[in-house]
């Protein structure tokens, strides 16, 4: 009897074992599709590619604020002369957030690009029709462009160019930890990517859904910059020349420099590489969320509703204020109320780049700059670039707040002109290129009705005002370094000013020079919006000192703290070195 019972028990146990119960035990993720079921066709690949664009718009990649704070472009906001901005103070280390976040953002983009390349490589052999092959190639070329671009940013930003390389999608533990590659290998790697992109990308996109995708011209420009940064001027010239002269691209300077900085004229003829942002979508999404397609740059620069956490450094404000206008050019004249004409307060380039308290000719947030912003605490100018001064009265008019749809023009033709000029004079060593270099510099200046440089006799615009000086190559180089590039391109590009100072070898010396300059602010009487007379105290930046006025000076700490070995490149971030056993030097 008892034995029989035991048999039953054993039987029940055995049965359960046999039936397996796989249905009960197999649970499929209801939340997300697995990677195995994705990447099945070109639509999937294109969705993956859009995720690369999504990574590109991550503001940590450009890190516009801090990349300029560590150069000589900006003062980091509040509380002058005290600041705790470690980039401005040259006081950062490998735990500092900006190099960490930038690193993460760039490698995230690379991972996504690798997935697209991987998927296309698997899909392509299955296609026989021309349309699919062509589409697949173009998708792949865009992925290669971004991988190349992101590695070029890494190469030019971190650890003297020596960073880990991923040209595959890692799958298991053995592939996660990649060591540092020598800088020349990194360079070779991303040049190859960009060349592939250049060969296969279209010169133009026409459908609205594609406007903003990268082009052959962009790949060419990035390659040109790469060779310029390597001081391989002749290589650089071939690429820049192509950008400038190839009619397929059709690049030309916009009539107004102001067409490059606001929501107006996005993806214009001057724009070569541009990051798209928009207010049209996702108002419910947190402004800091990766899903969000707007940016926060307006809050960074604007004193009207924003945080003005960066504003122009004093030398730059003075340089803008002192920009020589072409007094023969009608564009520089405005009508007074009584119908008479007078010269603009400041040059067009100055007015569109920064807001000065005494600029009477270009409204700022729909009123005069003096009426719009406070100009207090030693703040004597604000960047207009990246803000919405032309369409709102206050950044907070854009609701929900902390969003801006202004695109970031990463590379525009004027920049290429100036880089081309630099190449023509071989970085200031070749007198043979001077005339041609001046020609391109003057194209940029002419657009903003500035007084041209060099002799008028050999100029494209002989009727314009020239400074009539004979320039040596070194003088042209100085002009590029200290006037033309910073004034034309202030706060623009990928870390451009920082990289420029470094590659020219003048960073420390620049801080030392600038730290010796002293300024003060003159008071500025104005009529406020209610029509009452008022004063913006100490708001007109003036060189020198004046008794009873607060002394303003920049870069004192940077001059002391800057140590090229620590600060010329970002250190390898601690998020990487604590998680990657293959990297231990730091």
């Amino acid at each position: 009897m008892k034995k029989i019972r035991f048999k039953y028990l054993l039987l029940v146990l055995a049965l359960l074992n046999l039936t397996g119960c796989d249905d009960f035990l197999t649970q499929v993720n209801p939340n997300e599709m697995s990677t195995d079921s994705f990447w099945q066709n070109l639509d999937d690949a294109d969705a993956g590619l859009i995720a690369v664009y999504n990574a590109f718009k991550n503001q940590n990649i450009m890190s516009i604020g801090d990349e300029n704070n560590r150069a000589d472009m900006t003062y980091p906001g509040y509380g002058r002369p005290n600041t705790s901005n470690i980039y401005y103070l040259q006081n950062f280390n490998n735990g500092s957030s900006t190099p960490n976040n930038k690193w993460i953002a760039l490698y995230t983009g690379i991972f996504r690009a690798n997935q697209v390349i991987n998927a296309i490589d698997k899909l392509m052999p299955t296609y026989k029709d021309e349309a699919s092959i062509s589409r697949g190639t173009i998708i792949k070329a865009q992925a290669h462009f971004f991988r190349g671009l992101f590695y070029s940013y890494l190469y030019n930003s971190y650890n003297e160019g020596s960073v880990p390389l991923f040209d595959f999608v890692p799958e298991d533990e053995s592939q996660f930890y990649q060591g540092l590659q020598p800088a020349d290998k990194v360079l070779e790697f991303f040049v190859k990517d960009l060349e592939y992109a250049r060969e296969n990308l279209p010169v133009k996109w026409t459908a609205t859904k594609d406007i903003g995708r990268v082009t052959k011209g962009a790949a060419t420009a990035v390659l040109g910059m790469t060779y310029l940064y390597e001081k391989d001027y002749n290589q650089a010239i071939t690429y820049f020349k192509d950008v400038i002269e190839n009619p397929e691209y059709g690049y030309s300077l916009m009539p107004s420099i102001g067409d490059n900085f606001t929501t107006k004229s996005e993806f214009n003829k001057e724009s070569i590489l541009e990051i798209s942002y928009s207010l049209a979508f996702k108002s419910q999404i947190n402004p800091y969320d990766e899903q969000q397609v707007s940016n926060l740059y307006s809050y960074m620069v604007s004193p009207v509703g924003g945080y003005r956490s960066v504003y122009p450094s004093s030398w730059l404000i003075m340089a803008y204020k002192n920009e020589a206008m072409d007094t023969l050019d009608t564009r520089n004249f405005v009508k007074n109320a009584d119908g008479t004409q007078r010269l603009r307060s400041y040059s067009l380039r100055t007015s569109y780049s920064i807001a000065l308290v005494d600029d009477k000719d270009l409204n700022y947030y729909q009123v005069l700059p003096a009426q719009a912003a406070a100009f207090n605490n030693g703040e004597t100018a604000y960047y207009r670039k990246y803000s919405n001064w032309d369409i709102v009265t206050n950044e907070k008019d854009i609701f929900p707040n902390q969003r801006s749809g202004v695109n970031v023009r990463v590379i525009r033709l004027a920049d290429v002109y100036l880089m081309y000029a630099e190449c023509l004079i071989q970085g200031g060593t070749d007198e043979a290129g001077v005339a041609e270099a001046l020609r391109y510099i003057n194209k940029v200046r002419y657009r903003s009705a500035l007084r041209l440089i060099g002799p008028s006799a050999s100029s494209e615009h002989p009727g314009s005002m020239h400074d009539e000086q004979a320039y040596t190559a070194a003088q042209v180089m100085d002009h590029l370094m200290y006037v033309e590039r910073p004034l034309e391109l202030s706060l623009e590009g990928h870390a451009e000013r920082h990289i420029d100072l470094r590659r020219w070898g003048i960073t420390k010396q620049r801080f030392e020079e600038l730290s010796k300059k002293v300024y003060y602010g003159e008071h500025y009487p104005y009529v406020d919006v209610k029509g009452k007379p008022a004063t913006r105290w100490a708001s007109v930046l003036t060189e020198g000192t004046k008794t009873g006025y607060v002394v303003i000076s920049d870069y004192g700490q940077a001059a002391q703290n800057y140590v090229a070995s620590q600060h010329a490149y970002w250190p390898l971030p601690n998020v990487e070195v604590t998680t990657n056993p293959s990297i231990l030097t730091n």
Partner: protein, 1036 residues
């Protein structure tokens, strides 16, 4: 504020009402007498029961009792440590009894998985705690009540927040993934996580500490098992217990914070260090806000609340007949937060019934729980350090603020922001229904079939309301909202069931006793969640979703909140044999399959073996019996598993919404992007641990003194491990992949001893000692120093690691050696750190280079990097001690629970934060040209090397001794109770955590932190409080 004051009298009212209710009279007629011990001493506290009923009383301080009983009845006298004695009344009105001491105290029964065992025959390491001990703590959390009670069960508070659960860890760290929680089994039904019972529902808790015992729960047994048995009815007349307490709580510690003068002084020092500015050319916020001179604001008084109430009331009704018994329990617990906007309320009801008829025994258990938890906004406590003393005082209740500050000033915006955070309402309302039904059928006298079905369903809704706050500046201009008003709703639901079928066979023949048991179980767990959100409230009166106007947003959960179902199948069997209760042997095996693993790795086998020998039962031991009353030795070995990782993490997935807007402004089109954003491991498999245990149980001097010791050694293999994945892989910051890479050991000693003296002055004590040594023994794979992704001190630096030779979660920090005080030191140090200045913290370049080839590194590598980090202890104590003291004299009783923890290191991250905000009192004494002897580094901003979280500068000794509980009670004598027609009335005053002896400078040395990564890192989590309360216990 106003509401709270109103509530106190109400609460006192409830207390008084219940007291009055409790003292309502019942009927009785009496037998009386005294109970004495073998030497004639009178024994208080003896339970006197009328046989066959629940009707009973206890003897008073003089050993005197009175009871209503029929003349032909029998009284049963029982008291721990004495032989239970029955005496028939036989018509007598006076019945004196002498009790004999119990030689075999181990007759009590303990729960083991799927069954019970006599204590004497237990071969594993099992410990029991009963309700009386648990109910000494005033808490909603079971873990808190268990702290220090059981050797080998270590409890660390994770937070003092009302409603928070503590970390319970049995025999050391059991897993480096997820939590280290043990498995909770309530009346046979396994729960996924803490079942959150009220303490009054619980009759006993049995903890299966060793793997041999826990392996019957297979895959989930590696963290140990907590078996909870709820109160069951007993046949007899109805018995009613009513208990309650009311108390107040206060925060008693904190990191010293600067006042206005000190703050400004250290502010100017900081600016000098950082910007080279001095008075004359410097700047401070006072220049914009001159009224700052009038302030000396400390938000402590706004954020921390004094005398917050805590209260608990429970009612238990039990009784039944031979065929039907019942127990119904209701409990209310309420705790106001000590931090603004926090609090917790819980109401539990449980009804247990049992029916017996013929061969059937049917038990049912139904439980209900409702919870109401209010959360303070994230990081509230750190605001105390963020908020500078010159800033305006804040009234946390204003919905409209006028004169917030000068037009356009940051101060005005700040006020709006603070008011908005203070008024954020964040409430979770949750409820659970749980129940089980169990039917047992006796096929024969020896063979029983049991089927059990049980489960629970839990639903929560959390609503966060950011009210509309209107802030006007000094000019009367309405400022934009600093925190956008809106409503966020989050709902989740989880349900689980377990279905078990078992057969058990019991047979005794000759001296042989055999138990055979086999069964199958199936379990399923389902979770789903979603949120809905809308912005811009029209009015603060209407705060439902429809009351908000713009930007609706909805979604389902992600990460640990993702929708999921997981299932588990188990087959188990066990054979237990003993000969005359002298030699015991137990063998068990369980085979489990879990849906969390891919098909290839789904099944796991978990065997165990244990044996015991009651040496004192042997003939040869007899001469020793008058000294050593009992001696038993035990040995066991068992295997358990762990499947504790995120569901579906064995397959990489595609994330949506990585979009991009194409087209120029005005004609944009949204491109939809999808991509893989993280990694997964297809080959994840079971983690197993094998544990050996040797134990000895002894008692001396007629069982007055008892002693238990256990030694164990656990070997973990293929440990599931969240390996950090570097950002270069593209998975972002803090990415991990679960791999089976590590091996780990836990070796430990658990001792417990007790002594009991009964008499006019009775006292007893028991003490526990727990020591566990945890070591990582192997890390396969490439990454042998794995920084745990959650182990941040300050959002910059991680310090907890998994590394061979160290305990899991060890602190690896940068060693420092004072600060730079001389130019020579500076010149030398600048070789390592070129940016160094006077007053900087000196980091030590660890010797890692071997220059003379002797195999011993003798020189630094000239670089400051993670190579230089050194081991600096961990947040896990070297040992802990629990000590309980109970004494009674006449009708008075006093009890104390002490808890000591030695050897844990703590990272005082609150202090780090106070440094980084520049509000730490220490900063007044920092190095400066005027204070060159200081050992506090010059402050150069929060992210400077001098204040980085990775240095050993923040490490403190976390040893402490705490008086966890002390209570003084008075039990009314039977004579008085008789008049009031009561069985029992005890009133008491008690204090919890009134004394903590520690050198730790932060809020609370008992820093659990959630999980392994942040253990020992004190990030200013909700501090523990001292509580003082009064209470009553009433029976009728």
């Amino acid at each position: 504020m106003k509401k709270r004051i109103d509530c106190i009298p109400m609460r006192v009212g409830v207390f008084v009402f219940l007291l009055v209710l409790a003292s309502l009279p019942t009927l009785a007629q009496t037998v009386s007498g005294t109970v004495t011990g073998p030497e004639g001493e009178r024994i208080p506290g003896v339970t006197v029961l009328l046989k066959g009923t629940q009707n009973g009383t206890t003897t008073d301080g003089e050993g005197y009792y009175q009871i209503k009983a029929p003349a032909k009845g029998t009284l049963v006298f029982s008291f721990v440590g004495f032989v239970t004695q029955a005496a028939s009344i036989g018509g007598k009105a006076k019945l004196d009894v002498q009790l004999m001491e119990d030689a075999v105290q181990l007759q009590e029964v303990v729960a083991v998985g799927y069954g019970t065992q006599k204590k004497k025959e237990v071969t594993g390491a099992v410990a029991q705690v009963d309700n009386e001990v648990l109910s000494k703590s005033s808490t909603s959390d079971l873990g808190t009540a268990l702290q220090g009670q059981i050797a080998g069960v270590s409890v660390q508070s994770s937070s003092g927040e009302p409603g928070a659960s503590s970390n319970i860890q049995i025999r050391g760290i059991t897993s480096v993934t997820g939590s280290n929680q043990p498995l909770y089994v309530v009346d046979g039904i396994p729960y996924w996580g803490d079942p959150k019972l009220s303490i009054s529902e619980i009759a006993t808790i049995d903890v299966l500490k060793d793997a041999a015992s826990a392996s019957i729960y297979g895959t989930r047994g590696s963290g140990g098992v907590i078996l909870i048995t709820t109160k069951q009815g007993k046949a007899g007349t109805m018995k009613v217990d009513l208990d309650g307490y009311y108390g107040i709580q206060n925060i008693t510690s904190g990191v010293p914070r600067t006042n206005f003068e000190d703050y400004m002084y250290s502010y100017f020092l900081w600016q000098k260090n950082q910007n080279g500015t001095n008075l004359g050319n410097t700047w401070s916020p006072l220049e914009n806000t001159t009224d700052g001179f009038l302030h000396n604001t400390d938000l402590t008084n706004v954020i921390e609340k004094n005398n917050a109430a805590i209260q608990n009331y429970s009612l238990n009704v039990r009784g039944g007949t031979k065929d039907l018994t019942y127990s119904v329990n209701a409990n209310y617990f309420g705790q106001d937060g000590m931090i603004i906007n926090s609090g917790y309320e819980r109401f539990n009801v449980r009804a247990n019934t049992s029916f017996t008829k013929n061969k059937w025994t049917i038990r049912t258990s139904l439980g209900l729980r409702t919870e109401n938890q209010q959360y303070s906004p994230y990081g509230m406590l750190s605001r105390i350090y963020q908020y500078a003393p010159y800033q305006q005082p804040v009234d946390p209740n204003l919905q409209s603020i006028t004169n917030a500050g000068a037009n356009g000033s940051g101060q005005a915006q700040n006020m709006g922001y603070l008011a908005a955070t203070f008024q954020q309402k964040d409430r979770r309302k949750g409820g659970q229904f749980n129940g089980n039904i169990q039917a047992e059928y006796a096929i024969t006298k020896d063979l029983k079939f049991m089927t059990r079905f049980g489960g629970s369903s839990t639903a929560d809704t959390r609503v966060r309301i950011n009210p509309l706050i209107k802030t006007y500046d000094n000019d009367g201009v309405l400022l934009p909202q600093q925190v956008r008003s809106g409503v966020y709703n989050f709902s989740d639901r989880l349900s689980n069931f377990a279905f078990e079928n078992t057969l058990s066979y019991t047979k005794t023949f000759g001296g042989h006793h055999l138990d055979v048991f086999g069964g199958i179980t199936a379990e399923e767990y389902t979770y789903s969640s979603f949120f809905a959100q809308k912005y811009d409230l029209l009015s603060n009166d209407i705060t439902v979703l429809n009351g908000a106007t713009l930007d609706p947003n909805a979604g389902s959960g992600t990460g640990y909140n993702q929708n999921k179902t997981n299932t588990l199948l188990g087959m188990l069997g066990r054979v237990q044999y003993n000969y005359k209760g002298k030699y015991m042997l137990s063998v068990s095996a369980r085979r489990d399959a879990s849906s969390r693993f891919s098909k290839k790795y789904r099944w796991g086998l978990f065997p165990s073996f244990s044996a015991g020998w009651n040496v004192s039962d042997e003939e040869f031991f007899k001469p020793l019996l008058d000294k050593i009353s009992s001696l038993r030795v035990r040995a066991s070995q068992g295997t358990t598993g762990n499947q504790n990782f995120l569901d579906y993490s064995n397959a990489a997935t595609i994330t949506l919404n990585k979009d991009y807007a194409f087209g120029p402004d005005g004609s944009e089109l949204l491109g939809l992007g999808d991509t893989q954003t993280s990694y997964a491991n297809k080959n994840v498999k079971w983690e197993t641990s094998v544990q050996s245990n040797i134990g000895v149980d002894m008692s001396f001097f007629k069982n007055k003194f008892t002693f238990t010791a256990d030694f164990y050694n656990t070997q973990k293999r293929d440990m599931l491990f969240p390996l950090a994945v570097p950002p270069t892989t593209g998975a972002g910051k803090n990415a991990t992949v679960v791999l089976n890479v590590g091996d780990m050991t836990n070796k430990g000693v658990e001792l417990s001893a007790g002594y009991r003296k009964v008499g006019k002055f009775s006292w007893s004590t028991n003490a526990t000692f727990t020591r566990n040594i945890n070591t990582i023994t192997k890390m396969s794979g490439t990454n042998t120093v794995n920084y745990l992704s959650g182990g941040y001190v300050d959002n910059v630096d991680q310090v907890t690691v998994i590394q061979v030779g160290l305990p899991a979660g060890a602190f690896m920090v940068m060693p420092t050696n004072g600060i730079v005080k001389s130019q020579e030191q500076l010149a030398a140090y600048q070789k390592l750190v070129p940016t160094a200045k006077m007053g900087d913290l000196i980091y030590v370049d660890k010797k890692t280079v071997d220059t003379d080839g002797d195999g011993v590194p003798d020189q630094g590598d000239g670089l400051l990097n993670n190579d230089d980090r050194v081991y600096a202890g961990s947040g896990i104590p070297k040992f802990t001690i629990g000590l309980n003291l109970n004494a009674s004299y006449k009708n008075f009783d006093i009890s104390m629970q002490w808890y000591g923890s030695y050897g844990a290191k703590l990272i005082n991250a609150t202090r780090t934060a106070a440094y980084q905000y520049g509000t730490a009192q220490d900063l007044v004494y920092q190095y400066s040209s005027d204070n060159q002897n200081s050992n506090i580094p010059a402050y150069r901003g929060g992210s400077h090397l001098n204040a980085r979280g990775w240095s050993d500068y923040w490490i403190e000794d976390g040893s402490f001794i705490r008086l966890r509980n002390v209570s003084l009670g008075y039990e009314f004598p039977a004579s008085v109770l008789k008049k009031a027609k009561l069985n029992k009335l005890r009133l008491y005053v008690a204090a919890q955590n009134p004394i903590t002896l520690t050198r730790y400078m932060g809020f609370n040395p008992d820093v659990g932190g959630d999980g392994l990564a942040s253990r020992g890192i004190d990030k200013g989590t909700y501090p523990m409080s001292a509580q003082y309360r009064v209470g009553f216990q009433l029976g009728f």
